[in-house]
């Protein structure tokens, strides 16, 4: 094979180079300015204002342009960002933020409490098309006490209060006041207060951010952050290998197999950490078959989650048992589990009235064949493979599954919002706070709301309401523990897996410290030693 020969030649060269460079790579460098990070992504952002963004591609970039009052530390605790400190009143209803005085917008205007108040007013304005208004509607009163003091008072005790003051509700008032946010051209070329500034966006090609010299934690060492949009994972990977991309998220196959070469070990660093997300199979509760708990439990017994984690994620993930990520404080490992047991599944289906079987081996009840469609989004081969495994396993217990892969916005607008689906294979990114009122509460079933499966369990409603009204972490742990047990017993979703995030970064970038919140939290501290710098930004 020619490729094998080429690989050996390459291997030889790598070994030769490693032998020559080993001594040098150990030396310690002082951080220096310069160079650019080229990130390759599959998705292109849609807007760059955090409160308007609904996709992770937009949030990733917007998060570098906008800083909020608070942020997460590497141990998942809350630390100040724009806020240098805050006080919480003894009754837990009022939070007073004290803002740093050295934060500025891009044009040099100081970033003050009035900007936070303006952001708050915008996000709670019913005409603003945002998905995040709910947590700000809990606020009774918000006020800018002086230029650098911002105070909010809540109607009732609201546990996720503090965490909601990230970068969602901070906007430059002097720029936006008097304009309509959603129609403003600044939505796609914003002015921010974060470590990077918007420079250029060529749709379908790339987005360029430059370092902000006035960033309050110090100018980033990197001159630029360039995001290239390459909608195909295989092409993205080839770009990485040819050196035109420095940073991307790998698929498990790319992580375990394709980057297991000397070339990648020499030139790149790979990281793994559990992502704050899980993948699930959801049932539509408006469909009569899935209203029967035995049917949902039977399907849960027929799916081998271990097989999926092993086969689809190649072991680079964990089995999910509920809507929280293992090893975080709300996670409850002692919930009812559904072991892979086809006899049990068959017995449950028999009990639910699906005992007749037709000539194709498909179960029948009242003349209807047990046949349903799983919808999933296009462009995610992990979900596609997961769906194929589920399809194969369910066929073995007499359920015929069709898989339909639909482009993202069509899936949301035409199928999920209109509740035109039987089952969905999708994922949720979750926050650090365990409040999941929006996803599970029976009041959240209207158009565009997130309980699109129409789940309704009064006990779950009660727990969700109680969970957000106390600050006592043990009490919350107990409440959300019970909540997870009920979900596990009731199976509105089959929680499948928590995938690991698998970023890969070119080796020339220093100061990367992996943590539970990922690696990009200190992007403004990354640097490239001068002799390894590759790009120079032309003025």
């Amino acid at each position: 094979m020619f490729s094998n020969i080429a690989r050996y030649v390459l291997l030889f060269l790598c070994i030769a180079v490693i032998a020559g460079k080993r001594a040098e790579s150990k030396t310690h460098h002082d951080p220096v300015y310069g160079d650019a990070l080229v990130v390759g992504t599959i998705g292109e952002p849609s807007v760059l204002i955090p409160m308007l963004a609904t996709d992770s591609a937009s949030h990733d970039v917007a998060g570098l342009i906008f800083s909020g009052l608070i942020k997460y530390d590497t141990d998942l605790s809350i630390i100040g960002d724009l806020a240098s400190s805050w006080d919480i009143s003894p009754d837990g209803l009022t939070i007073t933020f004290h803002l740093r005085k050295d934060a500025f917008w891009e044009d040099g205007t100081p970033c003050t409490a009035h900007d936070v108040l303006y952001g708050f007013k915008t996000i709670t304005d019913p005409s603003t098309p945002t998905a995040y208004a709910e947590e700000f509607k809990q606020v009774l009163r918000a006020e800018a006490v002086d230029d650098y003091t911002f105070r909010v008072t809540y109607r009732e005790r609201y546990a996720p209060a503090l965490t909601s003051w990230g970068n969602m509700a901070v906007l430059p008032r002097h720029v936006f006041e008097g304009t309509l946010l959603q129609t403003s051209p600044l939505v796609r070329k914003p002015m921010g207060n974060g470590p990077f500034r918007f420079k250029e966006w060529i749709p379908g090609d790339r987005l360029v951010l430059g370092a902000s010299p006035s960033y309050f934690l110090g100018r980033p060492y990197l001159d630029a952050y360039i995001c290239r949009f390459i909608p195909d994972p295989a092409t993205l990977f080839l770009e990485l290998r040819s050196g035109t991309i420095d940073f991307m998220a790998l698929t498990p196959l790319q992580y375990a197999r394709q980057t297991a070469t000397d070339f990648f070990q020499k030139n790149f660093n790979k990281y793994t950490y559990p992502s704050f997300s899980y993948t699930y199979l959801a049932f539509n509760f408006l469909h009569p078959w899935f209203q029967d708990k035995r049917v949902r439990q039977a399907i849960a017994h027929a799916i081998d989650k271990k097989e999926i984690v092993e086969g689809v994620l190649l072991g680079l993930g964990e089995i999910a048992t509920g809507p929280y990520v293992p090893h975080t404080w709300p996670y409850n490992p002692d919930v009812p589990q559904y072991t892979f047991d086809q006899q049990r599944a068959a017995a449950l289906l028999d009990a639910a009235g699906w005992h007749q079987i037709d000539t194709d081996g498909v179960r029948i009840k009242d003349g209807a064949r047990f046949e349903f469609t799983i919808l999933t989004n296009m462009g995610n081969s992990l979900r596609m493979n997961t769906a194929t495994i589920i399809q194969w396993r369910l066929a073995q217990i007499g359920i015929k599954v069709k898989i339909r892969v639909i482009e993202w916005s069509t899936l949301i607008n035409e199928f999920i919002d209109k509740k035109r689906f039987e089952a969905l294979l999708l994922g949720w990114s979750i926050g650090v706070d365990p409040d999941q009122y929006d996803i599970w509460h029976s009041s959240k079933v209207r158009n565009k709301e997130l309980n699109f499966i129409s789940y309704n369990n009064p006990e779950v409603d009660r727990l969700l309401e109680a969970g957000r009204r106390t600050f006592d972490i043990d009490e919350r742990k107990r409440i959300y523990g019970t909540f997870q047990s009920i979900l596990a017993e009731d199976v509105p979703y089959i929680f499948l897996y928590v995938p690991y995030a698998l970023p890969i970064v070119h080796r020339r970038f220093h100061n990367i410290h992996p943590s539970p919140i990922g690696i990009t939290y200190n992007l403004y501290r990354w640097y490239v030693p001068r002799d390894m710098q590759r790009y120079r930004l032309s003025p």
């Binding site: 094979m1 196959l253 197999r257 394709q258 086969g311 081969s381 493979n385």
Partner: protein, 284 residues
């Protein structure tokens, strides 16, 4: 009309034409594989085995395994059924439709001809693959729809061929004789002219199978064709693309299968053309 001894003569000439004979052998081999799939395939083509993901070719799996540990050879064998079925049904539809439209246009002429040929021109303006993608997006992606859509978007070539044949044939004496004997339009079209116009139609149908197989593979490659778990050469290739550096067998084997099939039909088609229309030999 072709009679028995002329049929034998035809087969003899076909066999003597090396191009056509080779093509025919390949096509027959593929048909045999498709028909005998359950006997030939060593594994259930949909059986997932996460313990043997992306294994290279070996004695257990002669073409290796895919991302879900399924046997690639078995999937290719079953995939040949889909490729051939799509080829034949799509070409069946396009040939019948094209012949009908071409015959009507060529026979009646005047404004009917102008109208139908402008329809053909309009259809030809739109690049095939985009037209098919658009239609598939509306009607939903499954094997049946693909066959029908390919059929309904590839009849224009046949229509032009048949019309051209009809334009010359309708002026011939035997048509005049039939009309003098009191034959109606339908009788003249179907009984008298059409059988004489079938040679080029036959050739274009055989060539059409090759292009239908390619279109099906392309659609499946784009994820708009045959849906999982059904195997098709195109969707095996799609997996191959993502693993091209570490699992060459996912691209090479289905790629070769497509190549061989298209080659087979093209050779047969070219050979038939030599035999049936020697006068056209150097005009293509």
């Amino acid at each position: 009309m072709m009679e028995r001894n002329t049929f034998y003569a035809f087969v003899k000439r076909l066999w003597r034409n090396k191009l056509a004979a080779t093509g025919l052998c390949i096509v027959m081999l593929l048909c045999a594989i498709a028909a005998g799939a359950p006997i030939i395939a060593p594994y259930n083509c949909n059986a997932i085995d996460v313990k043997s993901i992306l294994l290279p070719p070996s004695f257990q799996h002669i073409c290796g395994t895919d991302e879900l540990g399924r046997d690639v050879f078995s999937r290719m064998v079953y995939g040949s059924r889909i490729s051939l079925a799509v080829g034949f049904v799509a070409v069946g539809i396009s040939t019948i439709l094209g012949t009908l439209i071409g015959a009507i246009a060529g026979y009646f002429g005047k404004w009917i001809d102008s109208f139908l040929m402008r329809c053909v021109d309009t259809m030809l303006c739109i690049p095939d693959i985009f037209l098919i993608l658009t239609v598939i997006a509306f009607v939903g992606e499954n094997v049946f729809n693909i066959m029908v859509v390919i059929g309904f978007t590839s009849w224009m070539g046949v229509a032009r061929l048949v019309r051209a044949e009809f334009l010359t044939l309708k002026e011939r004496e035997f048509v005049l004789a039939a009309r003098a004997a009191g034959a109606g339009d339908a009788r003249i079209i179907f009984i008298h002219i059409l059988p004489n116009a079938l040679g080029p139609v036959f050739v274009s149908a055989v060539l059409g199978v090759a292009s239908a197989v390619l279109v099906e593979s392309a659609l499946s490659f784009l994820g708009l064709g045959v849906q999982p778990p059904d195997p098709s050469w195109g969707n095996i290739l799609m997996q191959g693309k993502d693993n091209i550096e570490t699992a060459w067998w996912l691209s090479v084997f289905p790629g070769c299968a497509i190549l061989l099939t298209v080659l087979g039909y093209n050779m047969l088609g070219e050979g038939l053309q030599d035999i049936l229309q020697p006068r056209l030999k150097n005009t293509r």
